[in-house]
Symmetry: C2
Subunit: 345 residues, 2 copies
């Protein structure tokens, strides 16, 4: 096989606070020959996720949690969930031109050495980008977090923050389909309209226009909140705890407000937590069982086939767009799942 020049995205140094495009660079490496069992994948779609910021810090408790959250070294490749096409394979299970999804890099090509991180797509029923978003960790996080962690009952009152994001939009849609009352918050008028008009949320509001989140939540939840799917932490979480009903459940999924501001800690009332018997439960999608995963895939595919679930995606094209795509997550640029398409299918 000829030697391949491979462009990849990396960080110049550790990133401690809000990320900026200038902190990233495109580098070029020459890929080595494939070892036994290696699979060379041409990257087509890569997932752009906020949690990656925690891997870019010099130190974060997140980095000890799971392999997918391990520290990213400046100058080195950055792995993620992605989908690509096999270009060459030394592994009997993978053939040239197979479509595979799993752990690949923010790069043009990836040599995949750990084949349990790679799944072959046997039939192509859905757009390929779905395997990076709704059928990937975003979907599993939404589904598992809502159904397994929050344990919803019909008519529960559900609040979702970052509701126009990759996970939040799906949580709201799952909750509506399940029979809950759903309110989402987001950071622009456009997103708020999108949630209400396109995704069928009962209500949505722009948190940036609210001066007192406590009374905002009282307005949208006159009977209190039963479930909160928390993607942001911070003041919103404090206000939710104040407005929560007895036996309320909070799925702690993300901390957008805290990822880029290490000084920011929440200040919630533990008296409320005790007396309302609130459960706050951090979780990672990687912890769900294969049964949970199969449930998720079967239910979600059925919903998508039936046109009951919208699949909002925000796709930019070209490896060079990765830094701005990623940085944009923290500016709230994306509506729906942020994906970068690196090459034409």
């Amino acid at each position: 096989m000829e030697m391949l020049n491979n462009k990849f995205i990396t960080i110049k140094t550790d990133i401690e606070e809000a990320p900026h495009e200038s902190m990233f660079e495109i580098k070029t490496q020459t890929l080595p020959p494939l070892d036994e069992h290696d699979v060379l994948v041409k990257c087509l779609y890569v997932s752009i996720d906020p949690y990656q910021i925690n891997r870019m810090k010099s130190r974060s408790s997140s980095q000890n949690s799971v392999a997918a959250a391990s520290k990213i070294t400046p100058g080195m490749t950055i792995n993620c969930l992605g989908l690509g096409r096999v270009v060459a394979s030394n592994h009997p299970d993978y053939q040239k031109n197979d479509i595979v999804h799993g752990t690949i890099n923010w790069a043009e090509y990836t040599i995949v050495k750990t084949q349990d991180m790679l799944k072959k797509l046997d039939t192509i029923e859905f757009p390929l980008s779905y395997y990076v978003g709704i059928f990937g960790f975003s979907g599993l996080t939404a589904y598992g977090g809502f159904f397994k962690i929050c344990k919803p009952k019909k008519e529960d009152k559900v609040f979702v923050s970052a509701a126009a994001g990759s996970v939040g939009n799906l949580v709201g849609q799952y909750a509506k389909l399940f029979g809950c009352y759903v309110v989402g918050c987001a950071g622009t008028k456009q997103k708020v309209n999108f949630l209400k008009e396109k995704l069928g949320f009962d209500e949505a509001f722009n948190y940036k226009e609210e001066t007192d989140l406590n009374s905002t939540l009282q307005r949208y939840f006159p009977d209190g909140i039963d479930i909160y799917f928390d993607n942001v932490g911070g003041e919103m979480l404090e206000a939710v705890v104040a407005n929560m009903n007895a036996f309320g459940r909070i799925a702690a999924c993300g901390v957008l407000s805290g990822y880029t501001n290490s000084k920011k800690h929440i200040a919630l009332s533990m008296v409320d937590v005790v007396y309302k018997r609130i459960m706050i439960h951090g979780f990672l999608a990687t912890d769900f069982t294969s049964n949970d995963f199969n449930d998720f895939m079967s239910v979600t595919k059925d919903y998508v086939r039936a046109g009951k679930l919208s699949v909002p995606e925000d796709i930019s094209f070209g490896i060079e767009t990765i830094p701005s795509a990623f940085v944009g997550l923290f500016r709230g640029d994306n509506v729906g799942k942020k994906i970068v398409q690196i090459a034409k299918e």
Copy 2:
């Protein structure tokens, strides 16, 4: 029946911050004749519990939670868990001289109208005070909170705050008997020694002597904390979250640091909560099922009979000691369960 003059303890006004003896008074009432089904109880032992402070505030979210936490009105009687002797009864199930435990008042006598709050003691195998503490809500809170909320595994590393208190001392003992490594914290050297020497805690420390709780916990838990039974909230909870292992469980039982300081909120890292998949679960003893209660009673009585559980009690005598007994809870005066004996058995 002759008219009875009844002394009772009340609050003069709502109590918003740290309580002081001067905020309480003894009043005298003339008890009315018994209605149909009323039971007149001479109070022998009453439980003195920190949570009562939340009932004394003008407003607290706690007051909407359960009947036992409803607001206390200045000038009126204050109910609690207690034990007494039936003096007169208009109810067929209760006879004069029956020993009963349940909801009575901080008073010499209580007319009990809701008989489902009253249980008759058929055999007297244990000291009567036990029914106000270890066999009462303190014991149930410790047992249910530890076994049902924290779901311990043998060899789990368990941390208990306010460990010399009515609930904490039992949590530590249950955890040791179950096979866990147990560290407690308390506010005096005497209590620390008591925990280690009398109750068999593996380690204990005086949190008032520590300047950096984070490194203190690192010292006592070099391999991290699996379970935290939280009676205090505040900075200790923040430090625990920082030192917690993956899948750690926190039973949020009490907020001693917050009950008397309404401005005090915790500032914990939600990034830790998410990535370590920490569960923080508020609970009240009143929520446990009757099965849980039966488990608790059977296991606890067996342990007490076998001499495996110590039952530290701190009993003062006389209704007039109730205010100082109660206020003392917040000064950390008591070692073990605080009880006031109102009359001789």
